[in-house]
């Protein structure tokens, strides 16, 4: 089986650990790292906006671009070491969600970590790019929690059977009280 682990900042360790746990010795593992050039492009643009300076200094966007590539390499190397088994690595540049879906190819499993607001279970625990990948990946997904989630379910909304339009989740900022604690 071909497995791809998508490594993002802040959550890649958990992805690598999950991959190591489920991959059998004859599985083929790819560690995928995608960076969005929009960030460096923004800095190139900010520098271009400094009219009159005559490109006196080096474009800081160039420095950030090479630092970004170096950081990608570093994460892949650390992830390879953490995985503790042979794996191929792949780096891509482009819009995160599209590059990840494009990288899947004929792989049968994609390991993804939740990002975003993970203080409680619910739709906000998926960032925009991750949401797109979950919706569009043409393969099976292993969607992991990078840390231990709050396991309490949101309470049933009052009068739910009578009002099907009521929100399924508590309003933002309200945390469901686990039974027995109040």
């Amino acid at each position: 089986m071909k497995i791809i682990a998508w490594l993002t900042d802040g959550t890649w360790e958990a992805c690598v650990d999950a991959t190591a746990e489920i991959a059998s010795p004859d599985d083929e593992v790819t560690l995928l790292r995608v960076s969005d050039p929009e960030l460096t492009e923004g800095l190139h643009g900010a520098y271009a906006g400094l009219v009159g300076r005559g490109r006196h200094r080096h474009d800081p966007g160039d420095a950030m671009e090479s630092a970004s590539r170096a950081a990608d390499e570093e994460v892949l190397a650390a992830a390879g070491a953490r995985l503790g088994r042979p794996a191929t690595t792949e780096t891509r540049r482009g819009r995160l969600e599209r590059e990840v879906v494009a990288a899947i190819g004929d792989a049968s499993l994609l390991v993804v970590a939740r990002d975003g607001d993970r203080s409680r279970v619910g739709p906000h625990s998926l960032g925009r790019a991750t949401r797109f990948v979950v919706d569009h990946a043409p393969c099976a997904l292993l969607l992991i929690w990078p840390d231990e989630p709050d396991r309490t379910l949101p309470p049933e909304p009052h009068g739910a059977p009578k009002d099907p339009g009521a929100p399924k989740h508590p309003p933002h900022g309200e945390r469901p009280q686990p039974p027995g604690r109040s």
Binding site: L39, G42, A46, Y47, G52, R55, H56, M64, A71
Partner: protein
Amino acid sequence: MQTVTAIGLLAIVLAFAVARPARLPEAVMAVPAAVVAVLIGLVSWSDAWSELSALGPTVGFLAAILVLSHLSDAEGVFMYLGGVAARVSHASPQRLLGVVFILAATVTAALSLDATIVLLTPVVFATAAKLGVRARPHVYACTHLANSASLLLPVSNLTNLLAFAASGLTFVGFARLMALPWLVVIAVEYLVFHRFFASDLGTPARPRAVERVAAPRFALIVLALTLAGFAGAASIGIHPAWVATAGAVVLATPRVIRRWRSAGRILLETNPAFCAFVFALGIVVLAVRHHGLDPAIGALVPEHADLLGLLWVAGLAALLANLVNNIPATLVLVPAVAHSPGLILAVLVGVNVGPNLTYVGSLATLLWRQILHAHDARPVLADFLRLGIMTVPACLVAGVTALWATLQISGVS
């Protein structure tokens, strides 16, 4: 005919500055254009001379600040700031954002927006990468605050320096009136960033050991004394440009004593081409102003610094800054509102905050970049533009309202 010629000269200078054929400095076109403007009589010799002498201290101030920030970087000030940010944030993206906001706002205010974009942003990116924190909110914060946090001091932005000379305000008087607008604009940016980047900021990294960077004490002390000197010198009638020059000289001395040859390179950091560009642009804009623009702009700007007048002129300034660029926008608008310090400061809110709307500072630059990069499929910066739409109008209204309140309290109009 003269009007057409003057506008034509300005258009050529700006087009060249945006397109920069063969990567030539902008001054290559601006200086000859200024000379032509004087030779064909669009600007008289005496007017040209008085414009140059009016711009002199401003450009000198600019040159000294450029050297000061270069030397601070060479002494390791920015690396040190990155180290402090890493340590204080404890790998929490939210805390890092708070620290980056403070750093970017301070660096921009004290050493100008160039220092933030060229020197601070790469350090902030490296810090985020080292911590394993998603760098997007923090890098965008630097590029945004380089513009919107450049309200506080006359040194923070070339636009401020240009207007400062005309405003008749003291260094401290300027800072006192702009302090509240500066804080309010930063607060609005912070709130919008918090919502906009909620998902990136909600992804904490695993804490990791951060090595301590030794504080470059000499450079930090010289910078602090220079800043204090700006306020002190103004009160005894010394132009702050001299204080900045003194700071730069003190900071450069140990280097120059160690290696005589470094003196030349440090002098080049004054960016003579940029200084020449500012002088030349001043004269070319003067030609346009003397031939039709002044009455036209005069009809557009309000008489009084009431809240509506301030909002109107700030909006006009933001619009103009986005159409051309904020430096010509300032040169055109400031003389038209020179009768009122309040309106001058409102122009500054507009020309400083406005450029965040188009991420490269003006539509002209944006279009040109699109044309240049059309073949290599550069990404459309949807995020950046969305962020601009969410912050700029809110910052303009909040900043101008804060300015109006300050003017009311201090009795300046």
